[in-house]
């Protein structure tokens, strides 16, 4: 009888310890979350995915599945305000972080689905439907190639420019001099562009902070937090660039709009 009591106590303690481990182990949390999502328990899945994020786990699949969990909650009719924005945030984060092209494609597709829903709702509300104004030209060009590629191009252009000039300087044959001049002429602008793009990519890597609007709408305000008259609220799920964070207010850029919004209406994208 005494032995049975010890055995029961051991089981209880073991089960408690297991639950503690499950709460703290990211892999177990991820498994719980995906299992809940498979079973349609979107609320439980969201709780586990958010617990995973609270523990500092940054993984493209976790972000992607978290976005799916929020989207699922919308889909099953249990939407909580901000779910679409949080879904968009998960997909944006997955797209940024992933090196898997299939996951990137899926995240992009899911993002399109979510933003379409946001645009549909804004249309019904009579608001502008622009949800994703895209990035600036320079940032778009800079993102065409990896930062290291731009850096390598800068080195190559620099060498080509120098060699072309040397050869033109030293050569005696007119044809060779012309050929070297042309090479140097091409290399010079290429060097300028690649240096500029390298610097831009580096700046983005080190200084760019972006976030996604995770409330139904984020109303632009001035620096004192007073809502701007006639300003259109930023759409849910919009990706914005954070320019400055000042306590409860954050100055953001969204397309051509430069305004402050409540910090609580944004969720930073992990990098």
């Amino acid at each position: 009888m005494k032995g049975l009591g010890f055995f029961v106590a051991f089981l209880v303690l073991f089960s408690c310890a297991s639950s503690v481990r499950a709460d703290d182990d990211p892999a177990a949390l991820f498994a719980q979350a995906t299992q809940a999502l498979k079973e349609g328990r979107a609320g439980d899945a969201i709780a586990s995915f958010e617990a995973l994020a609270d523990r500092g786990v940054v993984d493209p699949v976790a972000s992607y599945d978290r976005g799916l969990a929020y989207a699922t909650r919308v889909r099953i009719g249990a939407e909580v305000p901000g779910d679409l924005g949080r879904a968009a945030h998960g997909f944006e984060e997955a797209r940024d972080l992933s090196r898997d092209t299939r996951l990137t494609d899926d995240a992009t597709h899911a993002l399109t689905v979510v933003r379409s829903e946001v645009a549909r709702r804004r249309t019904r509300a009579g608001q502008p439907v622009e949800v994703d104004p895209g990035r600036s030209l320079s940032r778009t060009v800079a993102s065409l190639l990896a930062e290291d590629t731009w850096a390598a191009m800068a080195v190559g252009s620099s060498a080509l420019l120098a060699l072309g000039l040397f050869a033109r300087w030293l050569a005696r044959a007119p044809r060779l001099r012309v050929a070297c001049g042309v090479a140097a002429g091409i290399a010079a602008p290429m060097l300028a562009v690649s240096i500029a793009m390298t610097l831009a990519a580096r700046h983005d890597r080190l200084g760019l902070r972006e976030a996604v609007v995770v409330t139904s709408s984020a109303r632009p305000t001035d620096e004192r937090g007073i809502a701007l008259a006639g300003a259109t609220p930023l759409p849910e799920g919009a990706r914005v660039e954070i320019l400055e964070a000042r306590g409860p207010w954050t100055r953001v850029r969204f397309g051509a709009i430069d305004a402050s919004v409540a910090a609580a209406s944004l969720r930073d994208l992990a990098r």
Partner: protein
């Protein structure tokens, strides 16, 4: 005989001693309330007076206070020692005043209040109080912080000492005889006659944890002056970074909490504000000061009294062990209970789910229902009963109930799951999860599908979502970027054009150096050195004529360098004149002219030239050159 005497002595002793013994063992207790009918929210004072000859009554307790909460307590002990004809009589007294606030309508039996004497507890008779709706209680005279005596000089006026109390603070006899509470003591008063003091029960908390904020007013009991505050200029503290729940009603009168000894004087202490504050975010949060303006006494009229600004350091509960679903701010101790009715329904029908959340802390205003596919939770109807709880009414809490209508679209046994609320327990410093299992409902399938019933199929929200992934990808290993290094910019990008630039610049510089060197080489000084070297070489050779020619050239070069004149081609005394005109001494000029003449003669003489003579001329020529140089 001995036996009857002893019996008689025992009988007399019993008759004489027993009344005294009874009196000592049972203290005299008297309990009474200042009113027997009050309105909801009003304060009634329950006073217990205990007199004992055995010892000082201690540990007074008000007993049961149904319908009331205790807002304050003050005690006044007293001792009397009388000696008559050598017989000493001791009386110990304790008067306790409890401030009770009526909470609900009804007739309540309060108490019985009790005290402890000599290790035994004695009870007075309970007091019955009627509580009527707020505002319907009988009018009572306003309790003012003023002199209650008819004498203008204040309490303790004596016709035998009419000046007593006229000068506040100098009359030691003005100090009332009360028991002071060390917990209310302060190092020094913040003002004369009256000041405010604010305090929090905890200067560090986590987000959502209750911080009990109290403001006390201190009134100088011995000042002998009536004190009055301008009711129109009472400024409440600011606590914008907290959720604020008052634990006292705004219009409630100040509650006497005791007496304090501050810098040797007795101050009456009233509680004027008591708030439960819940921090909204982490950081160093500020509670602003509360201020009032005095109207009386006249000497202090118009002066402000304010509390200090308080700071509370707020952190977030630990991430380790945080349960899934925890929402920042859910701090306290909560429990959940749920009820589902009915358990059997048809597909598409609804059940009612009643969830009751109760506990202490900032009871969450919303809970997350266990949403799942095929089960639709409609917005709940919420009822709440929150406010101050606990014996001291210093904790916020209560309960909120959520009534959901839940539509079940799936057929079969549908598990509704469980409602959970993770929270941080600040007392036990660990997370807890309140749970209420909802159980399973039995859903009968219905034959009518949406198409058959004529309903248009609902358009699916968010169609075409991609599938779930169930394996983590892992984070990309962070690597160093070459453009973060200065070497990359210096050597990788800058070195190539720099090398070219250096080459171009170097070539130009080289050319300039060569030109400068060549120009320097053609100067008269260089020419003189060359001529002198050539003359030396020629004099060490075998050709005397060549030596004389070299000596002549060296002299001509020296004339150019040292005198600035060209003597080549000059004949006769013209050499001397030119040199003299250039500032050369006549002696030196003559030597140069003679040497040039001798060289000329030796070079073109028909006889064989004499090399020794030429060497002698060269020695003399070198002397002439040095002479011109020293000029």
């Amino acid at each position: 005989m001995k036996g009857p005497v002893l019996f008689l002595f025992f009988l007399v002793a019993c008759l004489l001693v027993s009344p005294v013994a009874r009196a000592q063992s049972a203290p005299q207790l008297q309990a009474q309330a200042d009113v027997d009918t009050v309105g909801v929210g009003d304060i009634v004072h329950l006073e217990l007076s205990a007199q004992s000859a055995d010892g000082m009554p201690t540990d007074p307790q008000p007993g049961a206070t149904p319908g009331f909460v205790v807002r304050g307590q003050s005690s006044s002990p007293s001792q009397t020692h009388i000696s008559i004809n050598g017989n000493r009589m001791d009386r110990f007294g304790l008067t306790v005043d409890w401030a009770l606030q009526a909470q609900r309508i009804g007739t309540f039996s309060i108490g019985p209040p009790t005290v402890s004497v000599g290790g035994s507890r004695f009870a007075a008779r309970p007091v019955t109080i009627h509580v009527v709706p707020a505002g319907q209680g009988p009018q009572r005279p306003q309790q003012q912080i003023q002199n209650p005596t008819p004498f203008p000089q204040g309490p303790g006026f004596s016709p035998f000492d009419p000046w007593r109390g006229l000068f506040p603070g100098v009359d030691p006899g003005a100090q009332p005889s009360v028991t002071t509470d060390p917990k209310l003591a302060l190092d020094a008063p913040r003002g004369t006659f009256y000041f405010l003091h604010a305090a929090v029960d905890n200067t560090s908390a986590v987000v959502g944890q209750q911080v009990l904020f109290s403001v006390y007013e201190y009134l100088d009991e011995g000042a002998g002056a009536s004190i009055e505050v301008d009711p129109a200029d009472v400024r409440d503290p600011t606590a914008a970074e907290f959720v604020k729940h008052p634990l006292l009603r705004d219009e409630q009168e100040a509650i006497l909490v005791g007496y304090a000894n501050v810098a040797g004087r007795v101050w009456k202490v009233n509680l004027v504000r008591r708030w439960a504050l819940f921090p909204l975010h982490a950081g160093d949060l500020v509670i602003g000061p509360m201020s009032v303006t005095l109207v009386r006494p006249r000497s202090a009229a118009g002066s402000k009294r304010a509390t200090d600004t308080l700071h509370v350091r707020v952190t977030e509960p630990p991430v380790a062990g945080r349960p899934p679903g925890y929402a920042l701010g859910d701090v306290g101790r909560f429990s959940l209970a749920a009820q589902v009715t009915p358990r059997d329904l048809e597909q598409g029908g609804a059940v009612g789910v009643h969830v009751e959340l109760s506990g202490t802390g900032n009871v969450p205003a919303a809970i997350a229902p266990p949403v799942r596919t095929g089960v639709e939770w409609l917005a709940p109807e919420v009822h709440e009963q929150v406010g101050s709880v606990g014996r001291e009414a210093d904790t916020f809490g209560g309960k909120r109930s959520f009534d959901y209508v839940v539509r079940v679209r799936r057929a079969g046994d549908v598990d509704l799951g469980e409602v959970t609320l993770p929270y941080w327990d600040p007392d036990q410093k660990r997370y807890g999860v309140a749970r209420a299992i909802l159980g399973t409902v039995h859903v009968k399938p219905t034959a009518a599908s949406p198409a058959a019933s004529g309903e248009a199929p609902e358009q699916e929200t968010l169609p075409g979502l991609p599938p779930l992934r169930d394996a983590l990808e892992g984070t990309a290993p962070s690597h160093a970027h070459p453009d973060d290094s200065r070497l990359y910019w210096l050597l990788g990008v800058g070195a190539w054009p720099a090398v070219f630039g250096i080459a171009v610049v170097g070539r130009g510089a080289g050319r300039r150096v060569v030109r400068a060197w060549q120009a320097r080489k053609a100067s008269p000084t260089t020419d003189l050195k060359d001529r002198v070297s050539a003359a030396n070489a020629a004099c060490h050779g075998k050709d005397a004529r060549a030596a004389d020619a070299a000596i002549a050239h060296a002299l001509e070069a020296a004339a150019i360098v040292h005198a600035g004149v060209n003597v080549r081609g000059a004949v006769g005394d013209e050499v001397i004149h030119r040199l003299e005109d250039a500032g050369v001494a006549r002696d030196a000029a003559s030597r140069v002219a003679d040497l040039l003449r001798e060289c000329e003669a030796a070079r073109f003489a028909p006889d064989a030239a004499d090399l020794l003579s030429a060497r002698d001329r060269w020695l003399r020529a070198q002397g002439a050159i040095r002479q011109m140089e020293k000029r």
